[in-house]
Amino acid sequence: MPAYSTQELMIIAAAREIRDGEVVFVGMRLPITAFGVARLTHAPNAVGLFECGLARHAPAQDMLYTMSDPPNQLGAAWATGLTQVMGILQGGWVHAGFIGGAEIDRFGNINTSYIGGAEKPTVKLPGSGGAADIAAMSHRLLAIMNHEPHRLVERVGYVTSPGGLAGGGARRAAGLRRGGVAAVITDRAILRPHGPQGELHLASFHPGHAPEEVREKTGWSLRTIPGATETPPPTAEEMAALHAIDREGFWR
């Protein structure tokens, strides 16, 4: 029996994507916990941004259900408006952003708007929120998803948040000057863009999830980056940091 849960591994994998000194749109739940772990381990100077108009040096001390909750206001580094925090995102000051989604495709495009098309959807999802902006304008996009074939699809039905679009130079041709998916962290693996088309490839598979299983659970013919290995399990230091934040064992 492993000494960590799948979600704990995902949090730690996400934390490893944050570099020291970076400004990161962190979002709720798993990413904000990852931000906390990164701060306590290798990225003590990372800064978290929230679309409601907040910046924080350290995660909130109490459980958050939304980014606008009182514990996220208390001790914030900056309380301002949405325009300011998303304005500097457009200005190029945000290194990375975490987003989730209902569907992601082989080029990292993400759908959080409509299943079945915008004209006559079978499911109306809540929409972009800030995801489209973070995907378009941060330097690196980090996506977190559950790894099922109907979520990791050949082509999303609606591009809410642009990844590589049709691949290759399509993103730059659309006028996006930077960014794109850097990593997709799932409950089975980590995918990264690879090759001239920037197609998502298997970069590492989590302990207990063989490459064949990961491929089976992916809705396109998933290729593997040469040298792909098992995702390194959490270190003792990483687990200690996580437990220091997740004192109630929410993610255990």
């Binding site: 709720m28 408006g81 929409g127």
Partner: protein, 307 residues
């Protein structure tokens, strides 16, 4: 200065008409003016256009009650539950009525409000390029940047001018001068853009309290058309420094609104069967007491003395 104090009923009756474009979720998940949402439903307002970057539950209730004809938003749902069941029924099945959806992202919606606030013809933004939001919202146009010699497509976001912005604040005086703190969302842009501003104040204070700190004034009092005094007007959303979020209320709403019948029962219990916000607070009872923030973490003093 003009005394702008009004009851919730008056302010909603006089300030928000059928067909109006209304900003209700300027604070994102905080300071959502639910008391006005409930009163709009009680007064049977129709064909509203909701303008919001995000709307934690409030918009979903208005969809379910049939008050909404169109929505210009970046996100509509229930943060605790995810999907908005009434929003889904309206868009997917036209129940209780069809609605027009104008898709935005948070940033483009904020820019659309800023364009309206500042009288700009449009705002040129570099978001949304490559997104299907450009296809599903025909108001957004992509044009080459005329100042650049290289290929440089830019999205022109036209102004989105609300008829009314409804803003819940920590405190206000009776003349419309208000203090709002914590994260501000698009409160400033919405208030400066709207023709009318309806303020819901958790507390009414003397003018000198507001004037003691003009930097906490997010929009000027002359823009405010009415001030309503209703404690916990933002329940179940939080209000920085005063009220915690009532997550259980959202979860219960999400569960019960899954089916249309369940939603209608919820609506009867919490809105239609409740005459006003005082009765709503009474119905919440000790649950509301438990949500009150009792601790003190005061801002460091700031001096405005001149001599």
């Amino acid at each position: 200065m003009i005394d702008k104090l009004a009851t919730l009923q008056q302010a909603v009756r006089d300030g928000i008409g059928d067909g109006d474009a209304v900003v209700l979720g300027a604070g994102l998940e905080a300071a959502i003016p639910f008391a006005v949402v409930f009163e709009l439903i009680r007064q049977g307002r129709r064909d509203l256009e909701l303008v919001a970057p995000i709307s934690d539950g409030a918009a979903d209730m208005l969809f379910g009650a049939g008050c909404v004809g169109a929505v210009s938003a970046a996100w509509v749902g229930n943060v605790s539950g995810g999907l908005g069941h009434n929003y889904r029924r309206a868009v997917e099945q036209g129940v209780p009525r069809n609605v027009v959806v104008n898709d935005y992202s948070n940033f483009s919606l904020g820019m659309a409000l800023m364009a309206a606030a500042y009288g700009m013809p449009y705002m040129p933004v570099r978001s949304l390029l490559g997104s299907d939001i450009l296809a599903s919202n025909p108001a957004l146009k992509v044009l080459q940047n005329p100042l650049s010699d290289e290929a440089d497509p830019v999205v022109l976001v036209p102004p989105l001018k609300p008829d009314v912005a409804v803003l819940a604040v920590q405190r206000a005086d009776r003349f419309g001068n208000a203090h709002l703190w914590g994260s501000l969302g698009v409160a400033q842009e919405a208030a400066l853009a709207a023709d009318r501003v309806l303020v819901l104040a958790d507390e009414i204070v003397e003018p000198g309290v507001i004037a003691s700190d003009p930097n906490r004034v997010v929009f000027p009092g002359f823009k405010v058309s009415a001030v309503v005094h209703e404690p916990a007007a933002q329940h179940p959303s939080p209000m920085t420094g005063i009220w915690k979020r009532d997550t259980e209320f959202y979860t219960d709403y999400h569960r019960r609104s899954r089916e249309r019948d369940g939603f209608l029962a919820w609506l009867e219990e919490w809105v239609l069967g409740v005459p006003d916000h005082a009765a709503y607070r009474a119905k919440l009872g000790s649950r509301l007491d438990d949500l009150r923030i009792r601790g003190s973490a005061l801002a460091a003093p700031a001096n405005f003395a001149a001599s």
